[in-house]
C-alpha cells in the first residue's frame, strides 16, 4: 500500500499508531472489526481493509499513475500476478521466517523444505515471464510490479542467497529497477541481500 501511495502521489495521512495495542482498542475495532492492518479510512468515512484491496482502490483513484491499467484485460492480468505473488511467494517466505523463529514449535526441516519448494516454483514462473519483459504487465509500472518488489524485499534478506539470485536473475533485475524509481527509493532502498539462506534460529 505504501508503495502505491508513494508512486501515485496520492496524499495519505498516517496516524500515530502502536501495533498490537491500538488495533485492539474498541475505537479501532468499531471501524475495523477484523482488527488488523493495513486499514484505510477515507475522508468521507469509507473504511476498507486488506492490503491488496486498499492498494487496488487507491490505484483506481489515481488512474493517471497507470498502476491499474485502463483495459479490463490488463487489469485482470495485474490481478493475476498480484494474486500469484501473494499466495505462492509472499506467504511462503513469511512461513519460512516464522518457522525459523520457532513460532511453529520445534523446527521441522521437512516443513521448511515444503515452503521453500513452493516459493521457488512460483519464482520460476515469474522469472520466465520476465525473460523478455521489463515490467510484469504492459510497458509501465503497475500494482503487479509493486507487489512483486514488495515480496522481493522480504525474500532478499532471508530466502535468496547468491546462488538463488543467479537462478532467478530476471526477478532480481526487476526488483533493482523498481527500487531505483525515485518515488520508491526510500521504501525499497537499503534492502540487504542475504549471504546465506535463513536457518533455524529458534531457541533450543
Amino acid at each position: 500500500v505504501n508503495a502505491t501511495v508513494a508512486y501515485s502521489g496520492l496524499e495519505i495521512y498516517r496516524p500515530e499508531y502502536t501495533h498490537f495495542k491500538d488495533n485492539k482498542s474498541p475505537e479501532y475495532l468499531a471501524m475495523f472489526p477484523h482488527g488488523k492492518m493495513p486499514a484505510f479510512k477515507s475522508t468521507s468515512g469509507f473504511t476498507l481493509v486488506e492490503g491488496a484491496a486498499i492498494a487496488r482502490y487507491l490505484a483506481a483513484r489515481a488512474p493517471e499513475s497507470g498502476l491499474l491499467p485502463k483495459s479490463l484485460e490488463d487489469q485482470a492480468l495485474v490481478d493475476q500476478w498480484v494474486h500469484l505473488v501473494e499466495s505462492e511467494l509472499f506467504d511462503n517466505t513469511v512461513f519460512t521466517w516464522l518457522l525459523c523463529q520457532g513460532r511453529f514449535g520445534p523446527y521441522s526441516k521437512e516443513l521448511h523444505e515444503i515452503f521453500t519448494t513452493k516459493e521457488r516454483r512460483a519464482l520460476s514462473t515469474i522469472n520466465k515471464h520476465l525473460e523478455d519483459r521489463t515490467y510484469v504487465v504492459g510497458d509501465r509500472i503497475t500494482l503487479a510490479d509493486l507487489t512483486l518488489a514488495n515480496a522481493l524485499a522480504i525474500m532478499l534478506p532471508h530466502t535468496l542467497d547468491k546462488e538463488q539470485r543467479t537462478n532467478f536473475s530476471n526477478v532480481i533485475k526487476h526488483f533493482e529497477l523498481i527500487a531505483a524509481e525515485p518515488s520508491l527509493k526510500e521504501l525499497f532502498g537499503g534492502i540487504k541481500y542475504a549471504e546465506k539462506l535463513i536457518q533455524n534460529e529458534s531457541p533450543k
Partner: protein, 459 residues
C-alpha cells in the same frame, strides 16, 4: 449467445465452480473443454505455452486473451457483465467486494487447505502450526459471522462475487472441518452459504451441500497418546452407532471418541463374526510380498486361485480433493497417514494405493481388498474416510479387473496420469531402493517407499 471462451477446469474444482457461477449470474456463456483430461492435457507443451504456471482454472478467451488464478478469472468474468453488478455498483463497492474476497482467500481458504494437508498427512504434522492455522480460520469465521448478523449478503444487500466466493468456500469446509459444534457457533455464515449455494442459477454448479458429522481429526500413529485438539470442537458430535463403542473403550475423561486402539479387546468386531472364509488373508499378504505381482506364479494369479468372493470383496478408492495435492512425496505421506489411521482394521484390510501423475497434477487412487462385503466398517475406524470415494469392484467386469490388477502391480494409469509412488498396507513389505521409511506400530508394520523407476520387484 456467444461464449467468452474456454474455461479449463473440472466439475469438482471449487474455484472453477465460482467462475461458472459468476458467468451464470452474469448471463455469460463459458465453454468447458470438450476433451480435457486433467493432469495430462495441462502438462502438454501446448497448454504450458498458453498457461506457463501449468495450473487450472485457466481461461482462454475467443480473442486470445489468457488468464490464470481462479479468483482473478472470476473477477474478470464479472467485469464482463457490468449490469449484473457482481462487483458492486461503484468504486467503493468494488473495493468492499475485493476486501471480502481477499480476506477469505488469505485467511480462510489458505489456512483451511493447509489444515487439511496437516490432518491427512500431506504436510508433516506440526501442532503449533496447526493451532495457528485453526486460530486464523476461527477468527475469520467470527468476523464473517458478525458481519452477517444484520445482513443477507456481504455488500449492499445484493448478491456479489464476494458471496459466491465465501459461500462456495464454506460449502467445502462444512464437509471437512466445520463440524456441528462450529456450525452452531457461526450460524449466520452457514445460513449465508445455504442461501448462496441454493440460488437457482447456480445450484447445479455447486451441487449438494454435505455436512460432516465429525471434523477431520489428526491421529498420530497408533499407541501414541492422542494430542488434544486445539479446536473449539471439544467433543465433535459422534455418529450414533459409534458412541456406545467409544464409551466402552475409554475409561479416562478423554473427549476423544475416536477408536485409537482397536476395539477387539472390549467389543467383538462384527467382522470376526462372519462365517469362516476359505481364503487366508495372511497368506494373500505373504503371496503379494514374496511373489512377482504379474505373470505366471505371481501374486495376482494366486489371488484369483484363492479369492473367496463371499468372504472378501475388492474395492476402488479415490481421493475426493485431488486438486489440493501438490508435491508427490506429500501425497505419499498422505496415503501413509491414511493407512496409519486404518490400523484398527489391519486384520481385515489390504490396500495398494498410490499417487499418480506429477507435482500439482496428481490423483490418489488404488485398490482395497477387505473382509466382508461392505467397506464402511473397515474404513470408518479412521477419520479420513469421508475424504475418499469407495466403489466396489466386480472382477468379472473387464475394466474393474484391469484397474484392480494395475493397482496391485503399481502400473495403474488414470487419464494418462502414471503411477508415481505408492504404499501398501500389508503385514510385511520389504524393499531395497533409495529411501526407506520405517514406521513401527505394535504389530511391526513396515511401510516403505519404492520410487517409480525401481523395478516392480517387491524385494
Amino acid at each position: 449467445m456467444t461464449s467468452i471462451g474456454t474455461l479449463w477446469t473440472i466439475p469438482a474444482q471449487r474455484s472453477g465452480q465460482v467462475i461458472r457461477a459468476v458467468a451464470a449470474l452474469g448471463g455469460l456463456v463459458l465453454d468447458l473443454p470438450a476433451e480435457y483430461t486433467h493432469y495430462e492435457d495441462n502438462k502438454k507443451p501446448a497448454f504450458l505455452a498458453k498457461f506457463p504456471h501449468g495450473k487450472i482454472p485457466a481461461l482462454d478467451t475467443k480473442d486470445g486473451f489468457k488468464l490464470f488464478e481462479g479468483t482473478t478469472i472470476a473477477r474478470y468474468v464479472a467485469t464482463l457483465a457490468p449490469n449484473a453488478n457482481l462487483l458492486g455498483s461503484d468504486a467503493k463497492e468494488n473495493a468492499l467486494v475485493d476486501q471480502w474476497v481477499h480476506l477469505v482467500d488469505t485467511e480462510l481458504e489458505a489456512p483451511a487447505t493447509m489444515v487439511g494437508q496437516l490432518l491427512r498427512g500431506g504436510i508433516p504434522y506440526n501442532k503449533p502450526f496447526h493451532t495457528i492455522l485453526l486460530e486464523k480460520v476461527t477468527r475469520t469465521l467470527g468476523t464473517l459471522n458478525t458481519h452477517l448478523a444484520t445482513r443477507t449478503f456481504f455488500v449492499n444487500e445484493r448478491i456479489t462475487f464476494a458471496d459466491l466466493v465465501i459461500g462456495s468456500m464454506i460449502q467445502r469446509l462444512v464437509a471437512i472441518i466445520i463440524d456441528p459444534e462450529m456450525r452452531a457457533k457461526f450460524p449466520n455464515v452457514i445460513r449465508h452459504m445455504e442461501t448462496v449455494v441454493n440460488q437457482p442459477k447456480v445450484k447445479e454448479i455447486f451441487g449438494e451441500i454435505q455436512y460432516c458429522e465429525k471434523a477431520l481429526q489428526f491421529t498420530p500413529p497408533a499407541k501414541e497418546k492422542k494430542e488434544k485438539e486445539a479446536k473449539p470442537a471439544a467433543a465433535p458430535a459422534p455418529k450414533a452407532e459409534k458412541k456406545p463403542k467409544a464409551k466402552a473403550v475409554d475409561d479416562d475423561d478423554d473427549d476423544d471418541d475416536e477408536p485409537l486402539v482397536p476395539e477387539e479387546p472390549k467389543a467383538k468386531n462384527p467382522l470376526d463374526l462372519l462365517p469362516k472364509s476359505t481364503m487366508n488373508f495372511d497368506d494373500w499378504k505373504r503371496a503379494y510380498s514374496n511373489k512377482e505381482t504379474r505373470g505366471a506364479g505371481g501374486a495376482i494369479e494366486w489371488f484369483y486361485q484363492n479369492f473367496d468372493k463371499e468372504g472378501y470383496s475388492v474395492w476402488r478408492i479415490d481421493f475426493k480433493y485431488n486438486e489440493e495435492l501438490t508435491q508427490i512425496f506429500m501425497s505419499s505421506n498422505q496415503i501413509g497417514g491414511l493407512f496409519n489411521r486404518l490400523e484398527a482394521s489391519r486384520k481385515y484390510l489390504f490396500g495398494s494405493v498410490g499417487v499418480l501423475g506429477t507435482t500439482n497434477n496428481s490423483v490418489i487412487s488404488g485398490t482395497l481388498i477387505i473382509r466382508g462385503q461392505d467397506v464402511k466398517p473397515i474404513v470408518e475406524v479412521g477419520p479420513d474416510y469421508e475424504s475418499y470415494d469407495f466403489k466396489k469392484l466386480d472382477l468379472n467386469n473387464a475394466e474393474d479387473k484391469v484397474f484392480f490388477e494395475s493397482a496391485l502391480a503399481w502400473d495403474l494409469e488414470i487419464d494418462g496420469k502414471k503411477w508415481a509412488d505408492g504404499k501398501t498396507v500389508s503385514r510385511f513389505h520389504h524393499c531395497v531402493k533409495q529411501t526407506v521409511l520405517i514406521l513401527t506400530t505394535s504389530a511391526v508394520q513396515i511401510i516403505c517407499i519404492a520410487f517409480r523407476h525401481s523395478e516392480t520387484s517387491k524385494y
